[in-house]
């Protein structure tokens, strides 16, 4: 057996194919390629430096977008427009008026810019689609996670009480705290008193509104209700009613001082949102 193996090994060794010589200019050719490579690598180094800068800026832009997205969600929560959804989709089109597209559109564009910068920086060796999707996911999930915490509420509370004044943050929160849902067929508030099928509710703006309850509905003092109906001879007659979650409802009342500060302090400086401002300031 071993003898056969040895013989076969001999055969293999004898079958070694002859190898031609490399061309005489081979090393010169390789050296020339290396020289070109050197020139390219200088460019590459510069690009890498620029890439790191782009990446840093992209990260900052993503962080800014994330914070803005958090504010967008907070604003939607605070303006009370989502309360309209509790009556089904009949007010769906009205909700669009309260969605802060003036923040959403720039945020979408900034994330697009950030993802492009991140892709150009070549820090991640991923396809452009992966970078774009990841950027939007980071902004979306990060912003949603931040909005789910109490951080916005705490900042708002700090700013409202005037304990601390962070110039930029203070301006931003006051600037954005201006919308409160106002709809001719909708009212929301805390029951102040009730009498013979009528209730008086105090809405987040502090106004007391007399409302005729729908047939068969009973409420108690202190409850938060939302009611849809129509105005007839100055009286709001309810067709449908349900109860608000007390915690959710109370946040609109906490939101009001910020709106009122805004109203008195920054009215002239504020950007114009006529439709919303009218909703906020117009008499009932």
């Amino acid at each position: 057996m071993d003898k056969n193996v040895n013989k076969f090994e001999e055969i293999l060794k004898s079958a070694k194919p002859p190898v031609p010589e490399l061309p005489p200019n081979f090393s010169t050719r390789v050296m020339s390629e290396i020289s070109q490579l050197e020139a390219k690598s200088i460019g590459l180094q510069t690009r890498t430096r620029v890439g790191l800068g782009s990446f840093t800026i992209a990260c900052l832009l993503l962080l800014l977008s994330l914070l803005t997205f958090n504010s967008i969600l907070f604003e939607i929560q605070m303006n009370g427009s989502l309360e309209l959804l509790s009556f089904g989709t009949q007010f769906l089109s009205d909700i669009f008026g309260y969605i802060p597209f003036d923040l959403i559109i720039p945020t979408v564009l900034v994330v697009a810019l950030a993802s492009r910068m991140m892709w150009v920086s070549k820090v991640f060796k991923k396809g452009v689609a992966a970078v774009i999707i990841s950027s939007y996911l980071i902004t979306g999930l990060g912003g949603a996670a931040l909005a789910a915490t109490n951080v916005n509420k705490r900042i708002q509370k700090t700013l409202t009480t005037g304990k601390i004044d962070w110039p930029l943050i203070s301006w931003f929160y006051k600037e954005r705290a201006r919308y409160q849902v106002k709809h001719p067929n909708f009212n929301m508030g805390q029951v102040e008193k009730l009498s013979d099928g009528f209730v008086w509710i105090v809405d987040p703006n502090g106004r007391t509104i007399k409302v005729k309850l729908p047939e068969g509905q009973a409420v108690e003092k202190g409850q938060f209700i939302r009611i849809v109906g129509s105005v007839d001879k100055g009286l709001f007659k309810g067709n449908n009613m349900n109860f608000c979650h007390p915690v959710n409802a109370q946040r609109y009342y906490h939101h009001m001082p910020m709106m009122h500060q805004n109203k008195t302090m920054h009215m002239q400086d504020m950007r114009k949102h006529p439709k919303m401002m009218n909703r906020m300031t117009s008499p009932n």
Binding site: N4, V5, K7, F8, E9, E10, I11, L12, K13, S14, A15, K16, P17, P18, V19, P20, E21, L22, P23, F26, S27, T28, R29, V30, M31, E33, I34, S35, L37, E38
Partner: protein, 205 residues
């Protein structure tokens, strides 16, 4: 001329210090060895072997900063060559590279035992049988029998253990024998042909 006065380490240090031209003598020391290995491994395709050799040295140059200066350079270069060859084989189909067509193989296989087989034909025969082997077996056979590398050297090149190299060689040999048998050629027959050829050459001289 390759300067003999400088060691690999000295040349590497010089290149890393910015003397790009010193890479040339360093390359010239190993280029034929690398080419030889690649030529035999890449189915005796000269163009492919030359192209891959070139990319090997470009890669060697690019990664010169990461080489361990206290270790011999050759296994490191061969390891790069192995990787480059593997990449090359992945991208180019094996049949395209093969030197012989199947009909030619059949002709050789059916040749009468008494007919004089030329040394070149015998070499091609073995090479063709090697072509049929899986790359992992071919490579160790090429390195061991053609490039005369030891088990330890092959283990370094392939980044594996010497035991694995031994196993691959043993299996490779068996598979090679089976391929030869498939075509009705026994190892003994090949050996006889080779022996006859060698004897003739010896008588002539």
């Amino acid at each position: 001329m390759i300067p003999t006065g400088f060691s690999d380490t000295e040349l590497i240090k010089s290149v890393l210090a910015g003397n790009q031209a010193d890479f040339k003598p360093l390359m010239e020391r190993y280029q034929q060895k690398v080419f030889s290995y690649l030529y035999r491994f890449l189915y005796e395709n000269r163009d492919a072997a030359e192209e891959v050799t070139q990319s090997v040295f470009v890669k060697v140059y690019k990664n010169l900063g990461s080489v361990a200066l206290h270790r011999p350079l050759q296994p490191w270069i061969f390891r790069i060559a192995h990787n480059e060859a593997a990449n090359h084989l992945r991208t180019i189909s094996r049949k395209k590279e093969s030197k012989l067509k199947d009909e030619q193989w059949d002709n050789i296989a059916s040749a009468d035992e008494n007919q004089n087989m030329k040394q070149e034909e015998q070499t091609i025969l073995i090479q063709k049988a090697l072509d049929k082997l899986k790359t992992k077996y071919r490579e160790v056979i090429v390195l061991h029998y053609f490039e005369e590398k030891s088990y330890q050297e092959i283990a370094k090149i392939l980044n594996t253990s010497t035991n694995s190299v031994g196993t691959l060689l043993r299996r490779g040999r068996m598979k090679l024998q089976n391929i030869l048998k498939q075509y009705g050629i026994t190892a003994m027959m090949v050996f006889t042909c080779l022996f006859r050829q060698s004897a003739k050459l010896w008588i002539k001289t």
